[in-house]
Amino acid sequence: MAQCYDIEYLRELARQSRIDVIKMLEAAKSGHPGGSLSEIEILVALYGHVMKHDNDNINMKDRDRFVLSKGHGIPGLYAVMANLDYWPREDLLSLRTVNSRFQGHPDRVRLPGLEASTGSLGQGLSIAIGYALASKLDNDAYRVYCVIGDGESQEGQIWEAALSAPKFKLDNLVCILDYNKGQIDGFVKDVMPLEPIADKWKAFGWHVIKVDGHDIDELIRAFEEAASIKGKPTFILADTVKGKGVSFMEGLIDWHGVAPNKEEAEQALKELGA
């Protein structure tokens, strides 16, 4: 039942996307490297294999929907989608410039192909629930994926949403937590602890799966498991590293929202084999 996929191709997609993230942020001189790099494998597993979507037909009716609730991680999604031919990779360098389609936080009006305008934290999971409810109402087969952040999970609306999706039996909805453990002001465990996270989502009525958020195989298996679960939504707790892939960024809060300068970018690109 599991569809086969080319893991080398997906790993290469992740590597190339990381390179693009670094180039974009360096060009923009601002943005969020930490959370853009921690989410890459999640996005690659989804867009590179799991999700049904078509870059030539972005409004395809039965496409799976993806909502990046942690909107500041959008450079990661811009990069993955560019590498899947949604838009030219060179256009990414216009990140955060005047009139660019590639805003600092996602704007679906400017950039069709994105499924939601987010950026104000805590709002995306509710939007994803709206998509999932519509899919059920219309007896459509599409599935809905939403990536939230750990710092973001301090917003009350996340828990309103968490409470409601099981009530609506949204087995077509998967919420993925990019658990990179950092936020602007420090470590999540110090700013406002979230643990025990898995227990909380279980208690709210979700099917919970824990994975290594940088292991594409594990992620794909989790998405396949989620698709087999009936009557309840799935929560994937993806253990990730902030700034993953760049040695001097990994695990450091300082890289939450600071762009690399020229020398730092060169070093990062070298590490990524650019």
Binding site: A116, S117, G119, S126, I129, A134, D138, S164
Partner: protein, 310 residues
Amino acid sequence: MAKYSLRHAFAEALVDLGKKYPNLVALEADLQDSTQSIQFMKAFPERYIQVGIAEQNMMGIAAGLALSGKIPVTHTFACFASMRACEQVRTSIAYPKLNVKIFVSHCGVSAGTAGTSHHAIEDIAIMRAIPNMTVIAPGDAREMRQAAEAAIRYDGPAYVRVGAGEAEDVYTETHHFEIGKATVLRDGNDATIISTGQLMYEAVCASDELRKQGKKIRVLQMGTVKPIDREVILEAAEETGFIVTIEEHNVVGGLGGAVAEVAAEIGKAKVRRLGIQDRFSPVGTAAYILGEEMLTINDIIVSLLEFVKE
């Protein structure tokens, strides 16, 4: 004249519209009797989404439904939609210009003795300041029914505001609601009253009373506060020189503010704003509060007579 509850008028209209528009869905945040969304629930249980006491989540879900081609209609009180869920309305709904209809009941001071926490005297100002938002405040059942259909047919976010109580019928068969257009309820060139919501009844009564004394006061019902009908305000300023606005809302930023902004651009009319005078509304019956806040027929007449002396 007959009276009718605007909540009920909206709910009945929504059931009719539900038959016409299969993609219309209703969302409720645990106030189904108060908002009367219970009527839609009974007619279309499969298209009714009860989210519990979670207005922020409701607005986000509505955004997702709109993104999927539905026409979601959210139901809650004005204070909660405009303040508790304000940023969700702004960022999840208005920013991407999604086709969500935010129906709110118990606007102004109509929640009465429930207390100031349940009054909404800030919501027009808040919603008016959000780009892409349309703000509608019908004044009687006929206008409400027409506004409900207009809001559903309109492609974009709309905030529809009604009170908790009954509204006196004012609209005749010749009156017609259109988004962005004021309705001329009375002609006259001596002065103008501009109303919104159900205080249009008081406006018309004040005009009729003064007409008996030979003073012809124009009455404009601003059923849409945003986009505001600039043309009729400019005409009224030019032709009558004095405009009294009346609303169940703070005088800061509401109808009075909107009218004054337009009138000031040509500087040809004085504008007097009747409404809640920038203080938290007192607690009591709605009628008591309107009296306390000088929003009665007599208060309008007194305001007009200060200008129209001769």
